[in-house]
Symmetry: C2
Subunit: 331 residues, 2 copies
Amino acid sequence: MATIKQIAEHLGIAVSTVSKGLNGANDISEETRQMVLDAAVDMGYITKKMRKRDNKKVCVFVENMDYESIDQFGYDIITGFQKEAMRRKWDVTIIPTNLNLQTSEKYDTYMLKNGFTGGFLIGFTLHEDWIKQLHETSVPTVLFDNYISDNNHIGYVGTDSYEGIHDAVKHLVNLGHKKIAFLNGSKNSMVSQQRQMAFIQSLQEFSLEVNKKLMEYGYYVPDCARYHVPTFIENGATAIMCASDLIATGVVTEVNRRGLKVPEDISVIGFDDLPIAARQLPALSTIRQERSNLGKSAVLLLDGLMSEVSISKILLRAKFIERDSTGIVKS
Amino acid sequence: MATIKQIAEHLGIAVSTVSKGLNGANDISEETRQMVLDAAVDMGYITKKMRKRDNKKVCVFVENMDYESIDQFGYDIITGFQKEAMRRKWDVTIIPTNLNLQTSEKYDTYMLKNGFTGGFLIGFTLHEDWIKQLHETSVPTVLFDNYISDNNHIGYVGTDSYEGIHDAVKHLVNLGHKKIAFLNGSKNSMVSQQRQMAFIQSLQEFSLEVNKKLMEYGYYVPDCARYHVPTFIENGATAIMCASDLIATGVVTEVNRRGLKVPEDISVIGFDDLPIAARQLPALSTIRQERSNLGKSAVLLLDGLMSEVSISKILLRAKFIERDSTGIVKS
C-alpha cells in the first residue's frame, strides 16, 4: 500500500500538495487534485481515516429503483441497511445515481475522493465501464442481484428464489393446476434467468410439461402483462406466476379486461410481497423477498469484505405467501 | 414463548422443580429433568441467559472431520470460527460427536440443556433423526456444506466451487489438455454434486466433450484413486482433477505406480489447498477453500440468524492456485 510520500515521488510534486489533493483542500487546482486522486487509486493508497476500524463511512448507490416511500421496493432494503450499519456506528450516505456518474468518474476515485470505505449498489444496470472497474476494484463493494466473478473485494446479496418458486408451484399443483405460465422480468437480468431455471426445475419436479409458450420475459412493470397474458390464455394457462407484484397487478387487470376473474378463472401469483400485494383485490398470493434482511445482510457482507473475508454470495430465503388470488382450478 | 410457570402448569409440577430441571440442579431425578427439558423445548422456552444479547454460548459439533492438527481440513475452520466469535465475546465449545449423539437425544433438548444459543455443524453425515429435527428446530444453526430447506433458523456456509473449477479447467485448456478427468468425492454429498455440475458446465464452456468414462465418484480418501485412475488413463485422460488434495495425492501415487510421471504424462489438480498441497512433490496445483474465512462466515451467519435475519446461504470464493503438478500436454 502506497504512502503519501510515494505518491509525491511518483508524480514529482510536493508531499503537501498530495496531502491537499487527498484532503480536498481548496488551494490547489481541480486538475492537480484529480491527478493526485488517480495516482492514489492506481497505487492503492487508503487514507488513515479509512483504515481505522470504527467510524466507517459507506455509501449506497441507488439506480433505477424506487425507495423513497414505504410502498416501494428499495425502501426496506435501505432502511435495513441503515439499521444494521448504525449498530456498527457506520456513517451511511445514500446516493441516487444514473449512468452519467458511472461514465464520468472511475469508481475507485469516486470512493477515495469521498472517503467511502465501502459501497452497496442496488437497482443497477451496470454500465460496462463500471463493470470493468468493479472487476478490478479493491474497495469492498456489495451488489444487490448482480455478480462479479474473480474479485475478492466484491460480494453479491440476493434472494434464493428456488424455494419460494418451488413452494408456489406446489401450491398451484395442489389446487389442481397443470398449465402454469410464468411472466418473468427483463431477459438480461441475472435474477430473471435464475427464476426461469427455478420455475422449469419446479415444473419438472411435479412432472408438469415445460411449455415454451407459457414462459415469457417481460419487464418489471405492470404494462408488460398486456402483451403476454392473451398468449398464455390462448395456450390454456389456468395460473400465471409473475416475477414481481407490479407485473402481477398488470396481469390481474388484463385478465379482468378480458372478462375473466381472478382466481375463479385464472390464479395469479406475484413476487416480492410489496405492501400493495396484501391491499390488492383480490389480495395477492406472492413470494416474499425479505427486503429489510437483504439490507442487513448487505452490511454483514460488507463487514466481512472489510475484514478480508472473501464472501462471494449471501442468499436469503424466499417464502411463498398464500392469499386470495389463487384458487382451485376450474374443471 | 413459554414461561417457567406455564411449563409447571402444563406438567402439573411445582415451579421450583421446573426451575431446578432447567438449571441442572442435582436434587431432582434425571427422569424429571428430562421431562422438564422436553416440555421446555416443545413449548419454546428459552432461558433468560440465552435471551441476553451479549455473552452468548455457542457450540461447534464436529463429526467425521479431522481438525486437531494444523494440517487437517477442520483446523482452520474451527480457529476461524473461534476468532470471529471472540470478537463478539461469544463462548465457544467444541463438541466432537458421532451418530450416537444424534440418535440419543433431540437436538433442541441438547442445546437447551447445555445453554447453547446457536450451533455450527461441520463434517456431518446427518442422521435422519437430526435432519428431521433440524427441519423443525428454532435454535439458530449453521451447517457447513449441508442444506436444510424451508427453515428460517438454519443457514448453510460453504464454498462456491464454480469459479475455482472453471479457472482450473481454463488453466488445463491453455496447456493444451482436451481429455480432462474428474475424480469426485462421495456421491451422496451435496457438494460433490455441485462440483460435478460445475465441472460439466466448465467443459461445455470450453467446448470440450463431456465423457462419462472420465467422471467418477469416489471417497474423500487417497485410496479411491486406485480404482479409477486406470480407467481414466485407458480412456485417454491427460489431466485428472480431484475433489480434494488427499484424493490428488492418491492419484499421483497411482500414476507413478504405473510408471508415468506428474506432470509430464498426467497433470493433477487437487481441491482445498491443505498445507500438504504445497509440500507435495511435485507441489500440487489446487483449488483453494478459504477455511479460516469459512469459520468466520459461519459466525457472521449465526449472528444473522440470531438477530432474525433469515440468511439461507453464505458462499465463499474458491481460487485456483497453480503449482507444479500441471504441465503442457504431451504431444
